[in-house]
Symmetry: C2
Subunit: 487 residues, 2 copies
């Protein structure tokens, strides 16, 4: 990695000659790992200019270093840190660790943080029934790269400058029109906050709503990264049970009496992870309770696009007249998780607050990305992509249901989902699904066991099988491996 | 914005015929602003497919709408919402506002938030002495667009998938090597957290360190967005005075006795906004105090690249052996503010915590951007850009100092800065700088008055003149306007 100026602080007030100070400083840099064995030292001319020294001073320092055995080479071919160091290797103080030479402990105490649980990532070669990842092979990469390039070249200044924490107005307008058509939200560009994926939207909602000591009710089984976002904002997480009609919203009345209930977080469209759609009666009751008990409804509509069986279900936000709902959606599940784009529609006071917090979090969004995706929507490219992906995922859904039926029959109870990109299955009779997941991994297939979604952390006899990222042949093979590894 | 499926919820259980339900629902959508006057209704064939209806049902509904005067046109040319509506215009309930039809109030109370102050943005045509924005005309846009494209096309999967919350390993390695050379930090890729600009780094540091009731000491005058990041994390902000040697760090001893001092936030390289460099004795004393009193030092080295007078000054982090310093830097001031890239080097426990919080904030960085900038560094493109920008900004510094001297003479006391991209000037005798700023804006030049940097919000007789984004002719003209508008 050539080309950087090499900076050093020398003390012109000291009696030690500058060439010797420089040699000592460079030797110390080798000792503490700033310069690595075999690494090339900066050129003498460039170093002299950087440090405001006469080049002869630098040459004298380099000669001194070489005489002491720190370096090899000559000024013509270049000077390199000796691969065999004059001492038994760099000295390490106790505070200095393996990863470079940054201290390994802090000089201060860190406040407690709720325990956070990261999902392990399966090794390569494993067929992954993911958490709902789209198939990256379907992404219109050429169109995306073109849109990026057009934005950077034609709207250079606008995309490189400071901008609006709420998101590029053009993308907000495109998202508003998408939400009007597909979700029944009568939102304009001003009602939309663009975020980096739904995770940022949830994190901002948590920070806007929650004060330490507040409670937030969540579906359990449910989506842990959302709970963690509320937890680190200071919320106590309270469970809300599920049945065949979705979250048992009536329980919120009692919860709101026992806790300072600030919000309920839920996924009413395709409940995560169980894929149940919240029943119509419960939807209306939930909004009534929210209004009466003055709590917010954070509606995570994470995969609205993927609903297969005609008869669309509109989000709670489309019928919310009282300002209870904070509506969260994402394009990362439609396009690609690496392209972090989510959005929020919410009443003005909470949207303004979330926008202010967003400004303090990372100032603004990624403008080249926001512009590229706005263009994909304006050109109808995203619409075509959604339709194509929905058709393909529907085929995969059928392929998975057929393969599961063939390999497992009644030993796996599956409720065929009306939408989403995952199947939720119950092992009958119950088996140790955690053990199954470990054995499956050894066989080269990974899935999410029920325990991962449990607030109480206890095992459950369920498997979540996200099928979007596997093609039909891969699904066939993955189910074969699944059957082979069943305990 | 064509191409989206139009979703509606119809109730097959109701006695009302479906065609009438559909007509009523569409009329309601017009009334509540989901469909706008003049907008085209979805095609009948497509809508029938989306809703799982017979096309004749949709045709009957459209005929009904037209008979009631809601729409114009015919199935061949398309059906449009009538520009003159059958009622006196859309009915608005009290809860529904001008910006779309999203409720304008929340159904719940929002917890209090510290008051946040946004900087107004000057209108176009005004010459802006900005806060330290780089000149976007210098950005190597062609190389950047090429690097974006190469990444998206050649490393599609890697850039579109889930990734590491700590940042692309390749970019972390490139930043580590940059920091080793230019800052004297013996950091490896594992010691670096990539963030979206320094603002995210500060926000994460605040959330990792602060519990409600903790105090954070800040230089005043200072950088307000950093204070706000600490404030919304629950910190009380405590002032630390400045003099000609930078922050009066000795006062931290007393502060740490009176408060639960969790951290000090400062800009020791070129103090923001006064441009003073922290004196060597104070640097060592600060680290001593941090160790003894167990508080963190958040070092914001926001414009390290721009130091003109030989003799580099290395950051506090380069001599911190006790794990006191959280080092924050940014590439957004080197490249462009629209490209949000910052970095943190810190002891492992706090870096791990900040990485976990980052994962809950927005999962991961923008991979196409991270990959493109890694490539710019690997190719030496960023190094060349930094060197070129430094040369040009140095010329602009001289041009600004000369112009100020010529137009103001002793009425503006200027301490020529050894680095940075701004000049700090004192009006002598003191004038109402706020009034000056308002008159200057009317004359077509904008600058930052001292009050903007004051923790106590009181006026100060200072001007901050960021010159990087103005060329020499613009600087000349801007100073002329400045002189003309002086109260």
């Amino acid at each position: 990695m050539p080309g950087w100026d090499y900076a050093l602080a020398l003390d012109r007030g000291r009696a030690t000659p500058l060439f010797l100070q420089l040699a000592q400083a460079l030797a110390e840099d080798v000792r503490r790992g700033r310069l690595k064995p075999g690494e090339r030292l900066p050129g003498t001319r460039r170093l002299a200019a950087t440090l405001g020294l006469n080049r002869n001073t630098v040459l004298a320092a380099y000669a001194e270093l070489q005489a002491q055995g720190w370096t090899l080479g000559d000024p013509a071919r270049g000077t390199f840190v000796s691969p065999s160091l004059p001492e038994a290797g760099p000295k390490r103080s106790a505070a200095v660790g393996r990863r470079g030479r940054v201290p390994t402990h802090t000089a201060y105490d860190l406040p407690p943080l709720p325990p956070l649980q990261a999902d392990p990532r399966p090794p390569p070669g494993v067929l992954v029934f993911g958490s709902g990842v789209p198939d990256l092979r379907l992404v219109p990469v050429a169109a995306l790269a073109r849109a990026y390039r057009r934005g950077l070249v034609r709207r250079t200044r606008a995309l490189l400058d400071y901008s609006d924490a709420q998101g590029l107005p053009r993308l907000r307008a495109a998202i508003a029109s998408m939400l009007a058509a597909t979700r029944g939200l009568a939102a304009s560009a001003d009602d939309v906050l663009v975020t980096r994926g739904s995770q940022m939207a949830l994190s901002l909602a948590a920070r806007a709503l929650v004060q330490p000591g507040d409670a937030v009710a969540v579906e359990t089984l449910g989506y842990r990264p959302a709970w963690d976002a509320f937890r680190v904002a200071g919320a106590e997480i309270v469970p809300l049970a599920l049945d065949a009609e979705g979250a048992q919203v009536e329980a919120l009345l009692e919860i709101s009496r026992r806790h300072r209930l600030r919000a309920v977080y839920l996924t009413p469209h395709h409940q995560y992870p169980t894929m149940v759609t919240l029943a119509p009666g419960r939807r209306m009751r939930l909004l009534e309770l929210a209004r009466a008990r003055r709590f917010a409804v954070v509606e995570d509509d994470y995969d609205h696009e993927f609903h297969y069986e005609g008869r669309p279900v509109l989000p709670l936000a489309s019928v919310d007249r009282s300002g209870a709902v904070i509506y969260v959606g994402t394009l990362s599940k439609v396009l690609a998780p690496g392209l972090r784009l989510g959005y929020v529609v919410a009443p003005e006071p909470v949207l303004a607050r979330m926008t202010a917090l967003r400004g303090l979090t990372d100032s603004q969004g990624d403008l080249p990305l926001e512009s590229a995706v706005a263009e994909l929507i304006e050109d109808g490219e995203l619409q075509r992509h959604v339709r194509r992906a929905r058709r393909i995922y529907d085929q995969r859904r059928h392929a998975l249901l057929a393969a599961l039926d063939r390999r497992f029959g009644p030993r796996l109870r599956v409720r065929p989902p009306a939408g989403g990109v995952a199947v939720w299955a119950e092992a009958v009779p119950p088996v140790d699904v955690e053990a199954w997941a470990r054995r499956a991994l050894a066989e080269g297939v990974s899935f999410q066991p029920g325990r991962r979604f449990a607030l109480d952390g206890r095992p459950r006899p369920f498997l979540r099988l996200g099928y979007a990222c596997l093609d039909e042949a891969e699904i066939e093979e993955a189910v074969r491996r699944l059957a082979r590894s069943r305990p």
